[in-house]
Symmetry: C2
Subunit: 578 residues, 2 copies
């Protein structure tokens, strides 16, 4: 019982061994992460189409719940770029940004997503995330990065625009470009340039100036905070809001409020599919970060328990003014690098953000939205990696097709259709590959008991004996292929009197394949041809025993292919006498 | 060039060698099939919700076109039960049965289906049909049989009723049961009983009376014709139509008319998905019949050319007053048994039906619809085979799940959702099975160079060397599984210094798996653990060469696992010195 409880509440495990040393490491990590998260949370809320405080709220209770139920020691849960984009896309279809209905729908989305993750976790269905292949994920992240960057241009230009696909967004920008606000544009471009420089040029400079690598890293991470502080002071000092520069404005000073997600059936029906998509994409991002970080310390995470942790976090977000969250890459790496030892670091971060929500929100009143947009653009453009196209093209055309389709369809038709098409395409291409497995015709290597492909080796064969070795499990997608192959082969070659299926590479035979083998047996029986199996693996033979097929089979099951050869090859008797 | 033309026009192949003997065999077969098809065509048109002549028309031009483009020597193309049901379900959603719009929508459905089949054939995409597993097909056919039988009860009771699912149909029957026509019921029940008896009891009786097996067969097949003749005479003699018995009524005396399918975008959009479904199901039914019959004579069919033949047949049906057609099981078997040698038999059948359409339609004026319903009920109930549930349950739970889901969902939610769910479920279950492949930890069989599973054999192992053999190709669905397995294993066992992946059972490594291997290499490198491969198959090694992974791998690729053992096992040096 205690074992089960500990499985579901990993906090009981690490909490029991918590000491002063872990505490101080966790506290230091929490301070660093909190400073980084304040502008990031505001920015992602903006990206999701929500008021800025939603980003802060989404980082408080969800982090705490994850630290109770999650298994990763370093994962930092909260709003992330891709999930914010997906939220904007999904909620934008049921309500207009800025309305109360929009915020409520975002809560509903978080709730649905949380419940879905929780159910997957309780039923241990985490393997479903594997249906997203790496090429699809890479293509999706790259296309999302471009979409997100494009969506932020309106804040940098200081204009109103919309659109959920790249084309829509660009057209909308073009239509409103006349309303351009020059001061906003200057702030936006300067902030973007500065942040790019911080990312690429600052760290080498600091190192050259004699700073230690750790310290250089921390200063670099503080770049967005500097941009926020400077542009806020400018906006305040010159009253830029009066000159048409959009600023964040008043953000309520409060702890996360208790909120109630919309529970209308219609709303739930409209958001169900996006919630599933957000859950799976969020889970995949989160679990790969968590696994990478855990492996560095020879720790392990439990993907199904991660589902429960993320589910709890999202349900928490739904009732405390947030929106869908997941484990973010950037923040988790910072947390890990800053020395976080246990999920308590996350809880301390939450406390830091709660203090910020109560005390610091007036300070961001004059923060220009263009600055937040700049932090988003710089963050997401680092996700864009078109080299995946070249890499997959070289390695495998079907993987390339999956990447290319995902990128193009995400950009042109939107995130949901893009991902769904990518997943379906990679599954279909995989099934296509296994639908035409390699089937070797084999013969005896002279002087041995080994059988090899007749096309690659000098082997003995017998014109009346056809031996085929399919290099794949037989299942419904390729069952008919083998049936056709054998039928074609014996239709062309009238000397064949016996067919042997060498099953050494067959890990499974499903019911469709069994019926194909039955059909094959009937056809061969009609033609007076013997049908035999050899080298059937133990578990497969266990399944076959007692089926119609083995009862009706006109031939034998030989343990070794060599036994089949000795029994069936025409010239064996003669050769034995030699 | 002539080769290509012959591929696309199989008629050039068999036509060149056509002789008097083939002609007489084909003519005899055509006469028998024509007699069988007249009532059947009328009945299936009724099932599809169309006027009776549509069934005859759908058997004329389509058969002729198939005989030009098809590759099967015995396949008889025309309306079949399941496709008629699917037509009723699809067209019923866009128009009311009996209206002109309904008939036009059926033409559109045939056109879409024909174009889709043609495209699949030209692009050689016939393998897509393999995604329908045998359990899904069996479940679907059984459920369809029950649905069709239920849908015909209204004709046997002589009432009006509707519904596309079993529940809807039964409720609708219950609501109208008060309008029951007793004479209709007597005719319907008597015809059904008679036809069942013909199927089960007549043939043994005839054999007992001394008839030859072939003749007994032909007489049995004529049973429906007898039922038609007798009940038509009764209806005529007693003017049963005046007593409320529904009769076929006047059928135009004409050759198939030229008709124009509806081409409105809205109509096409609504019928596109059903057309795809009808095409694939029709193709699967047709191709399995054709293959079975071809194999009996060591002939072969070309599935992609079959798509072209069936596509042409459906396009023909669309322009000549028909509806979607395919190669039917019953009619093809009769054609084959009656001695048809070439597709010319089909063309002669078409001529026979054309004569019937012009000359014989007045004779069916008094044919009670209840008789046609009886022939349908008896035909489709022979398709119902619930034993598939027991068989799959015994053989494999995942195949059972696919059958059960298909049957239940087809009955409860309708044919389209039923089949789609079955297909998706069997693909997901298959992917699930391969998502957790068998991975053996292997050791050296003492005194040999062979490596076997440590759990099944007494083998030598080395605590610093972990050798794993995954019994499956690595691809996106199982890539993470292996990554986790290795990570977990080395997190538990701190003695391990080297990991070898023995790749003897790996037929492919896709890009996702490649990235998983890279990630694994990074993790192991971080931990100071060597990562090696052994026994990589040639084609897989060709792909791996020149990738980041092989360049960055911290260990070696060994040709044989024994080489890896000699190089990496800790005690090898000591042992060699002994």
């Amino acid at each position: 019982m205690i074992k089960t409880l500990r499985q579901y509440l990993p906090i009981l495990d690490w909490g029991a061994r918590y000491d002063r040393n872990a505490l101080s490491n966790d506290l230091i990590a929490a301070v660093i992460v909190t400073i980084m998260l304040i502008p990031q949370s505001l920015a992602y809320a903006l990206l999701a189409g929500l008021p800025p405080e939603a980003g802060i709220y989404a980082s408080i209770v969800p982090i705490m719940l994850y630290s109770v139920f999650g298994t990763s020691r370093a994962l930092a849960v909260g709003p992330v770029a891709v999930v914010s984009l997906l939220t904007a896309s999904a909620v934008g279809q049921v309500a207009d940004a800025g309305t109360a209905g929009y915020a409520i729908a975002a809560l509903t989305l978080a709730l649905l997503s949380g419940v879905f993750l929780l159910v997957l976790g309780l039923f241990r269905l985490g393997f479903l995330a594997n249906f997203l292949s790496h090429p699809v994920i890479a293509g999706f992240i790259t296309a999302s990065g471009l979409l997100i960057a494009a969506s932020q241009l309106k804040h940098i230009f200081g204009i109103e625009a919309g659109g959920h696909t790249l084309v829509e967004t660009l057209i909308s920008l073009g239509e409103h470009i006349g309303d351009l606000n020059v001061i906003t544009l200057i702030i936006g471009v300067a902030a973007t340039g500065f942040l790019f420089w911080v990312r690429k040029g600052l760290k080498p400079l600091l190192r050259k100036m004699g700073l230690g690598p750790r310290m250089a890293d921390v200063v670099t991470k503080a770049g967005p905070v500097a941009a926020v502080v400077v542009t806020t002071l400018l906006a305040w000092g010159f009253s830029l809001d009066a000159r048409g520069v959009s600023i964040v404005g008043s953000v309520p000073q409060s702890l996360p409020p208790f909120t109630m997600p919309g529970l209308g059936l219609d709303l739930i029906r409209q958001l169900a599919v996006p919630a599933v998509l957000i859950s799976i994409i969020g889970f995949v991002e989160s679990v790969s970060v968590a696994q990478t970080l855990a492996a560095k310390k020879r720790q392990r995470i439990d993907p199904n328990q991660e589902l429960i942790g993320l589910g709890a976090a999202n349900i928490g977000a739904a009732f405390t003014g947030g929106y869908p969250v997941t484990g973010g890459f950037a923040r988790s790496v910072v947390n890990f690098d800053a020395g976080a030892e246990t999920p308590a670091a996350g809880a301390f971060t939450a406390v830091g953000l709660a203090i910020a929500a109560v005390a610091l929100t007036p300070l961001v009143y004059f923060l220009p939205k263009a600055t937040l947009a700049a932090t988003i653009v710089v963050a997401v453009l680092s996700l864009v990696d078109l080299s995946i196209l070249k890499k997959t093209w070289r390695y495998s055309r079907s993987d390339f097709a999956a990447v290319a389709a995902t990128i193009v369809l995400t950009l042109v038709l939107g995130v949901e259709i893009g991902v769904a098409s990518g997943v379906i395409l990679s599954i279909v291409l995989h099934l296509y590959k296994t639908s035409q497995p390699h089937v070797a015709e084999v013969g005896l290597v002279p002087g041995t008991q080994h059988f090899r492909n007749v096309n690659r080796h000098a082997v003995e064969t017998d014109p009346t004996l056809l031996t085929l070795r399919p290099d794949e499990s037989l299942y419904f997608v390729n069952a008919r292929f083998l049936e056709d192959l054998v039928s074609d082969r014996i239709a062309r070659d009238r000397e064949v009197r016996n067919v042997v299926l060498m099953c050494s590479a067959m890990n499974d035979i499903d019911y469709s394949a069994l019926e194909s083998l039955e059909a094959l047996n009937h056809r061969l029986t009609d033609l007076g041809i013997g049908f035999h199996l050899s080298e059937v693996k133990g578990p497969v033979m266990d399944k076959l025993k007692g089926t119609h097929f083995t009862q009706e089979m006109n031939g034998q099951v030989y343990l070794a292919q060599y036994d089949a050869w000795r029994a069936l090859a025409r010239d064996q008797a003669a050769r034995a006498a030699e």
